[in-house]
Amino acid sequence: MTPVRLFGWRPTRWSRRPRGRHAVGAPQMTALVATIRRMS
């Protein structure tokens, strides 16, 4: 039995997460740019 099975290891939610960026679209990008621009 491998140590992984011995300790009942399962992929964590982090290791199962897909690589690459989260889904963002035009509305989110527009809001991001507008907010950063407005910051004083």
Partner: protein
Amino acid sequence: MPPSTARLTGRRQSGSTAVKIVVTGPLAAGKTTLIRTISEITVLSTEHNLTDETRSVKAQTTVGMDFGRITIDRELVLFLFGTSGQDRFDFMGEILGEGMLGYVLLVDGTQEETVSAAVPVLAAFRRMASVPFVVAVNRAGHLDPAAEAWLRETLDLAPEVPVIPCDATERSSVKAVLLALLYAVAGTLEPAEAPA
């Protein structure tokens, strides 16, 4: 929203969506300062006294990560994560980089060696995710063309990668860096998705 979908979109339990930008770079480039300058919250930092030979560079360094935040609106929040500049915390870059929109590679314009030290950092991030990035040159009022050409060659940058002189202590300067990154990210959206 079921938990599995929430993980894919970065949607948080509060209902707002979180997007992430990572600030990375070699030791003493100014990553923590940059995040402190722009974050709306007191930055969660893991600074600790240096005990090795890098003590001569600075007294304290980030030993895990820095975390800052900018609220965009009720539904969107931007998280800023800063990596440690120490090699022994390289693994944190991979953890912090998951799901990022893009990243800022910060180097110190007054310390040429930080540019060569940034080469492996950039290589690791390029391997990790194919997302837009910008190179910010801290403590540089301006970049003359020869210096920029040398930096681009050393870091093997494509012409479309922005190189921006900045002052990590100046909010307007940090804003310019973040905006350059956001424009680069917007440029990668499908035409139908791109902001008008």
